[in-house]
Symmetry: C2
Subunit: 165 residues, 2 copies
């Protein structure tokens, strides 16, 4: 799985953002020296399809918050992130933050002092409509809270010169 | 606190290692493309002094595991890390790993699937005997587990050309 990160064309800064078990937003802020802005492209509450239920290890029909955001610094998009969150496993005060505002997930977890674990599931090169002709490094991971899957996250990173910082 | 990371002479790779809320060992491996080796310089079990008790929020006299290690890649030391661990708060199987072997703490937590939170307390420039004339960036943080302090960690990073990778 980690082989995808060892390709010659993956800049070091992208390699660490895509490989870290910590917050990507925090690393982006440290790398760029700028505030990272989160822009929500889509957000809705849906009933879990069998496919979503499998990713979150919940029952089909359970409520799930879906969010599609971009992370940008200085006007440049570094990450397109899709998240699925199991609403029933989320402390109430976290729910409103996650569903309402343009706050990065790492910051939400930190501010509510949640103890979690990140399990990386997959790292691979893909194509993405959003980034057009630019090749994309994609990773999937789960955030585990109280021994259950709280969130499934897919982050897509464009592989090009923007990471030479 | 974060101002220490914005000094002109702090290379980007050092900035992210010293600022991350994830595993430093993992970032070092991603940056260098090499396995990181942990060398234990000191390890012992002590009774907590009042000072140690304060750092871990335990009672003076409680048992504490102290460990001083270096993290190296390709023969070069990148980090000198001191840790204090509250033995009574540690699951039994974690205890033996931590006290016996040259395993990075991030890996120990991950392998035992512990859900934790890292609270950064301090980041500052210091002098350290270990690194001699090289200026040192030091940070202190606590690993929180089940709402209590499991470990207090101080990492020292030499500020020089070795981070230009």
């Amino acid at each position: 799985m980690w082989d995808a990160l060892n390709r010659q064309d993956i800049p070091a800064c992208l390699r660490i953002c895509a490989g870290t078990d910590g917050s990507v937003t925090l690393l982006l802020e440290l790398l760029t020296g700028k505030a990272v802005s989160v822009k929500t492209l889509e957000q809705s509450v849906v009933k879990a399809t069998p496919e979503i239920a499998r990713l979150l290890d919940i029952d089909p029909g359970d409520e799930v918050n879906t969010r599609l955001v971009t992370l940008s610094a200085d006007g440049l998009v570094y990450v397109l992130a899709k998240s699925l969150s199991a609403i029933k496993r989320m402390p109430k005060e976290v729910r409103s933050d996650l569903m309402r505002a343009d706050i990065p997930i790492g910051k939400i977890l930190r501010e509510h002092k949640l103890e979690t674990r990140r399990d990386i599931l997959k790292i691979e090169m893909v194509r993405s409509e959003f980034f057009g002709d630019v090749p994309v490094l994609s990773r999937e991971y789960r955030i585990i809270y109280k021994s259950k899957v709280l969130m499934w996250i897919n982050e897509c990173f464009p592989v090009d010169g923007r990471w030479r910082m």
